[in-house]
Symmetry: C2
Subunit: 333 residues, 2 copies
Amino acid sequence: MTETRFDVLTIGNAIVDILARAEDDLIVRLGLSKGMMRLIDAAEADRLYTLIGPAIEASGGSAGNTAAGLASFGARAAYIGKIAVDQLGTIFRHDITALGVHFPTAPLEGGAPTARSTILITPDGERTMNTYLGACQALTEADIDEPTVAGAAITYLEGYLWDPPEAKKAFRKAAAIAHANGRQVAITLSDSFCVDRWRAEFLDLMRSRTVDIVFANESEVKALYQTADVPTAVEALRRDVALAAVTLGEEGALVVQGEATYRVPAYPVAEVVDLTGAGDQFAAGFLVGLTRGRGLTEAASLGCLAATEVIGHIGPRPAVSLKGLAAEYGLPV
Amino acid sequence: MTETRFDVLTIGNAIVDILARAEDDLIVRLGLSKGMMRLIDAAEADRLYTLIGPAIEASGGSAGNTAAGLASFGARAAYIGKIAVDQLGTIFRHDITALGVHFPTAPLEGGAPTARSTILITPDGERTMNTYLGACQALTEADIDEPTVAGAAITYLEGYLWDPPEAKKAFRKAAAIAHANGRQVAITLSDSFCVDRWRAEFLDLMRSRTVDIVFANESEVKALYQTADVPTAVEALRRDVALAAVTLGEEGALVVQGEATYRVPAYPVAEVVDLTGAGDQFAAGFLVGLTRGRGLTEAASLGCLAATEVIGHIGPRPAVSLKGLAAEYGLPV
């Protein structure tokens, strides 16, 4: 196994978030499922935009957010995702490369615009996402830059990549390259509705050892095993994958590896402003811990710390240096 | 004088802000004047973008921010400003119309892109602005929608409109329509460097009674009269315009009208996060007070309250209902 060039490569849908505050009754009137992500077409994105209040824009995309978090921790991060040649694409590229993230993906020319997700943030801080995939539909195997994958200790993939049809081929190609180079492959299950759409394939990825590490939250792991009981789901997960981290919101997180289980508490939060990016930043912290050889408990604590930071402000990426924050909390990386 | 259709029409450069945190040493290295606004061309905007960290985007533009603040107070607001047919223009139009602001200006097609201002926010909350005017250069007299101006009790104009050459003609046309309809005309001096560029013309606007109300901060009023002494500048201002409001940062604001002077204190601020929009929101509060027939002291307090809200978070427009906030503070509008 050669030396690594990157600690973590993340691959996902490259999205700019349009973040707007909304009262609960708007979520109800729009017929949305609070806390979930739904896919919409361009016409619905335009229609929805006319129904919401003023917004701010911030680069997002689950795996992009994780790459930003990794860079904020001082890790060597790379990212693969498809933007278009347009203003939102320029914003996405700027924000991720400004953090030092390697971003080798060629933008789409003359096709659909850069993806955007209209995110409604209710007073409880919960976010409800409406994603128009746009240029993400054009991510293909050709975008999987072999040297980048081969050089990354861990390749981390979004479950959301199962939505654009060509992206799942890209996902499988990346996993194959990683394993051929003795690297590890991680997946986040992304969203319980996404799990509902792709349950059989996600289970196959795990059971075929295409993925080595799984990230999930409670609703995703319950959806995966179609049970209302988290412990039941976690026991099933333990058998299906080598290592799994399950986030439990204000209860913190748990990690399962073989017969072992590790639990860590969440950090106290003064006010939950915006849950967007919480899971993505947990993954960043956990992954940085893993790649720095920390124990699983400490890795999970780094994840909880990063999640705590991001839910204290609007936007899905860290507003402060996570490396600095980790040092303050006695978890230097 | 016919009934008004709008309380206030604001006219200015329609800009999307790119807001990035920056340490003081970056401001120094870039050779920027902290707290000021400078105009840059597209090449410099692109170059600067490569030198700054991740950002968020929010609709801005001084007069646009004031229109948003007015709408947040529940006032009937209109806005004239030039965007392009592009993604940033779509964002600008959405954000201002979502608040109920009337925005009759046709977008520019096939020309320069929507204006953007790269704003660096230092740890003290001060903002340093680098504005590429883009489509704003195409604002002309033809964009001054006569019924809108005629129907607004007050037309409020940015000093920044003196920068794009055609816009000053638009400014004069709007002022003429307003006065022909028995309405009032207000100007903000915008920025001390802007005052340096256009001092003689600004003084002429005041002395010729083209404007009835002037908004300025300390550095702008000092620049206008080329004095380091605020009281001296204020006495000169008193002679040159019927009504003036001067913001004094944490010292609050003062209003001069003929021989009378009114002082109001600032509201306490837990933390100054981002000063972007402070003057714009002061103007919104003061103008809503005026149009509701409040006394000058109460109008200035409404201004200070709106400014306090906006400096507590990132972004130049209110994050909460200013109408609700005013009611909470015993200043219902």
